[in-house]
């Protein structure tokens, strides 16, 4: 079972985390630090995005900055499950969306794309289909002006908007300048043609799509992807909302492969969790 594997990996990850803490407690100060460290927030498996490097990529792109962290491990698990969902023909075009805004879909899309490009050595294209509030360019430290909106409105050529990222194997199409009619643009046949064209040149197309409930963009794009991953913000998104979003995808004849639970917090401190 997927979940069983996840928890197994999580357990291993915990054990890995503990070891260096014990090893570091060589001096008294270090021991004291280690002791207090366990009381510090965030605890357990949470990741602290510290500083940008010279690429200017947002520190939250964990798959890039800390490929060995438990968080990156989770992206790897996501990748594995994605392939496992259809082993003979893994989905090429994948949409990452959510029910509401701010659930973490953009970060998940970026981290998934980074993992696919870096670890699996695939040719990955990350498309920011959120024409309203596209953020991929900001996070990846790329210019916004040239992007998908331009291509769909006929102002730019497709080859002109694909930007190479600092990560090998990962190309990005930004959202571009915000248009006045994003849903109409995305609904054009041109979008489908564009995706079909891009599928020829890349192993995977990862689309970051606006939230389903607030705007129709997601429903418009849903049938174009082979699989849709619904990002759920833990302790925040209500069940009814998720069910409604799923219903909207079904209505649009899209296919949900599964969910990604984001922003998961492990509230029980390590020193207690050990005994449970």
């Amino acid at each position: 079972m997927n979940e069983d594997r996840i928890s197994e990996i999580l357990k291993k990850a915990r054990q890995k985390e503990e070891r260096p803490a014990k090893g570091a407690a060589s001096s008294r100060l270090a021991a004291l630090k280690a002791f207090f460290a366990q009381f510090k927030t965030p605890s357990g498996l949470s990741y602290i995005a510290e500083k940008k490097d010279d690429t200017g990529i947002d520190p939250r792109v964990v798959a890039y900055y800390a490929p060995n962290s438990p968080v990156s491990e989770q992206y790897r698990i996501l990748r594995t499950h994605l392939f496992a969902s259809k082993p003979e023909a893994p989905p090429k075009t994948v949409i990452l969306t959510s029910s509401q805004a701010g659930e973490g879909k953009t970060l998940t899309a970026i981290n998934l794309a980074v993992t696919l490009a870096r670890d699996s050595h695939k040719n990955v294209l990350l498309i920011d289909a959120d024409l309203r509030k596209g953020q991929i360019n900001k996070i990846m430290n790329l210019p916004l002006e040239v992007g998908l909106a331009g291509v769909l409105s006929g102002n730019s050529e497709i080859d002109g908007v694909i930007q190479k990222s600092r990560i090998s194997g990962l190309s990005v199409i930004a959202s571009g300048t915000k248009p006045s009619n994003p849903a109409e643009l995305l609904g054009q046949a041109k979008m489908k043609e564009l995706l079909n064209y891009l599928k020829g040149s890349y192993d995977h197309l990862i689309l970051d799509v606006p939230p389903l409930i607030s705007v129709t963009d997601g429903q418009v794009l849903a049938p174009l992807a082979e699989g849709i991953i619904l990002v759920i913000k833990a302790e925040s998104t209500r069940l009814e909302v998720i069910q409604h979003a799923q219903f909207l995808i079904q209505q649009a004849k899209g296919k949900v492969i599964g969910y990604v639970l984001s922003n998961v917090e492990y509230h029980i401190p390590e020193y207690i969790h050990k005994y449970l």
Partner: protein, 509 residues
């Protein structure tokens, strides 16, 4: 997510608590700190009490146990508690202790009394120990009130015992007067009745019956005599009618021989008749036949006599005279018998009535006797009780009666009994914890969001592909630390405040 929908383990509960720690911490600290601080700020209440041993003389009491005037200590206690808490007692208390010095208006005074009433407690400790306690904020005053209350209690108790006995005696005396009158009345009625029906009372029944029988047999005898006399009278009448008053003294003639013959026969017949008449009636056929024969013969004699011419000389008939003499005697006898008969009849009727009237009188007598007896009984019982009441009055007021011994004088309380700070703090701790848990679980049950893979597994129909831990930015870490720091500061401040209050309260006392 509602945790009821899943298999719940201890870990899940711990998870819930940690996830919603703020919801727990805030009510917990609020309640606990309020209770702890409050316990120091609450007014101190001091307690003073007296214990009184009540002894009742056990040896004598059983004698009067079932009489009207003995009351148990416990029963009396209820009445006394009420009495102590009565308006008059409290006013007396307030005056003696001087509690109303600052009171200006009547409503204020009434509130003061109501307040005292609530703070006084009368308790039974075992069956013969009474504790009177008083609570208040001024220890010296509390002691004073407890002492005065005890005095009032004992005074009132002794007074009430005496009053009880006196009122019982008074009551019995009243009743005695009433029953004395009743008894006298019924005795008088009985006496009058007996005088009125002296000869008809049940005891006289045999005498009367005997007399009645005597009279009746005598009457019978008189009747018989009377009838006898009447018969003799009738016979004499007839004989007289058959005799001439004047008879021919001398008849010179040649006697018709037939006449002599007939006369002879007639005499024979008459003698026969007379013999018969002794015990036969007129209607007897033999008598009738004899009479007829006599009549015939007499007719023949008359006819034969006419045939003879005779010369006669008249003279008084001696037979006639003798018969007449006899007749008069019989008539006199009849008269006397008749009057005797009358008298006897009257007597018989009288006695008959006497004998018949006895049951009614008997009943009346029974009623009168019963009334008298009942009144007598009640009167003598009341007399007994009066004596018993007098005894118990003497007993109660004497040394052998109920005694009150103060075992514990009211003492000056040095430590307040309230507020119990530790108890209140623990209560605050307990209630705070409970409230915190309640808040956490209420929130948990009403929260419909997905919080873990386990939730998602149960509630969603598609697989969870990954569970990404929260990625913190340095700014988020900072704000979280700020939040924690703030909490620590608040907690620290609260404890500091508690310590300050404790120290201040120590200094003030």
């Amino acid at each position: 997510m509602p945790i009821t929908q899943m298999k719940v383990s201890l870990k899940d509960y711990v998870q819930v608590i940690f996830r919603r720690r703020w919801l727990f911490i805030i009510p917990f600290i609020t309640v606990f700190a309020t209770a702890t601080l409050g316990s120091f700020l609450l007014p101190r209440v001091y307690h003073s009490y007296t214990t009184i041993l009540v002894t009742e003389e056990r040896i004598i009491s059983p004698l009067i146990g079932d009489l009207a005037v003995s009351t148990a200590v416990k029963e009396r206690l209820n009445a006394l508690t009420e009495e102590i808490l009565s308006w008059n007692s409290l006013v007396e208390l307030v005056k003696k202790v001087g509690l109303a010095e600052k009171v200006k208006s009547q409503p204020e005074f009434e509130n003061l009394l109501l307040g005292i009433r609530k703070k006084v407690k009368v308790d039974m400790k075992g069956h013969d120990i009474i504790q009177i306690s008083y609570l208040g904020e001024n220890p010296r005053q509390v002691q004073q009130v407890a002492a005065v209350l005890t005095n009032i209690f004992i005074e009132r108790n002794i007074q009430s015992i005496t009053e009880e006995a006196s009122s019982a005696i008074q009551f019995i005396e009243n009743q005695l007067a009433i029953y004395k009158k009743k008894l006298e009345g019924s005795e008088r009625a009985l006496k009058e009745f007996k005088e009125k029906y002296q000869a008809e009372l049940p005891g006289e029944l045999n005498v009367n019956l005997g007399r009645l029988v005597d009279f009746q047999s005598e009457l019978l005898k008189v009747n018989l005599d009377l009838e006898d006399a009447m018969r003799t009278k009738r016979l004499l009448e007839r004989q007289l009618s058959g005799e001439e008053q004047i008879v021919i003294a001398e008849v010179t003639r040649i006697q018709n021989p037939l006449v002599a013959q007939l006369t002879e026969h007639l005499v024979g017949l008459k003698m026969q008749l007379n013999t018969l008449m002794v015990d036969a009636r007129e209607t007897h056929p033999l008598v009738q036949e004899l009479r007829r024969e006599i009549d015939d013969i007499e007719t023949q004699i008359t006819l034969e006599k006419e045939k003879t011419i005779s010369e006669e000389t008249s003279a008084l008939n001696p037979v006639y005279q003798e018969l007449e003499q006899q007749f008069r005697t019989v008539e006199l006898k009849i008269d006397s018998l008749e009057s005797r008969q009358q008298a006897l009849k009257a007597l018989e009727e009288d006695y008959q009535a006497r004998v018949q009237s006895i049951p009614a009188q008997e009943q009346q007598l029974a009623e009168l006797t019963r009334d008298t007896r009942v009144n007598e009984g009640i009167y003598s019982m009341l007399l007994q009780r009066l004596e018993a009441a007098k005894i118990s009055q003497r007993l109660e007021t004497s040394e052998k009666g109920t005694k009150f011994k103060v075992l514990n004088e009211a003492r000056l309380s040095l430590k307040p009994i309230k507020p119990n700070k530790i108890k209140i703090s623990f209560l605050g701790l307990f209630v705070g914890t409970l409230l915190g848990f309640a808040a956490v679980f209420v929130r948990e049950f009403t929260d419909h969001s997905i919080s873990s893979i386990e939730d998602a597994k149960v509630l969603l129909d598609l697989p969870v592909l990954a569970s990404i831990p929260r990625i913190f930015t340095p700014r988020e870490i900072q704000s979280q630390r700020l939040k924690q720091g703030l909490l620590l500061t608040v907690v620290g401040l609260i404890f500091f405040a508690i310590i300050v209050v404790v120290i201040l309260s120590k200094i003030l006392t």
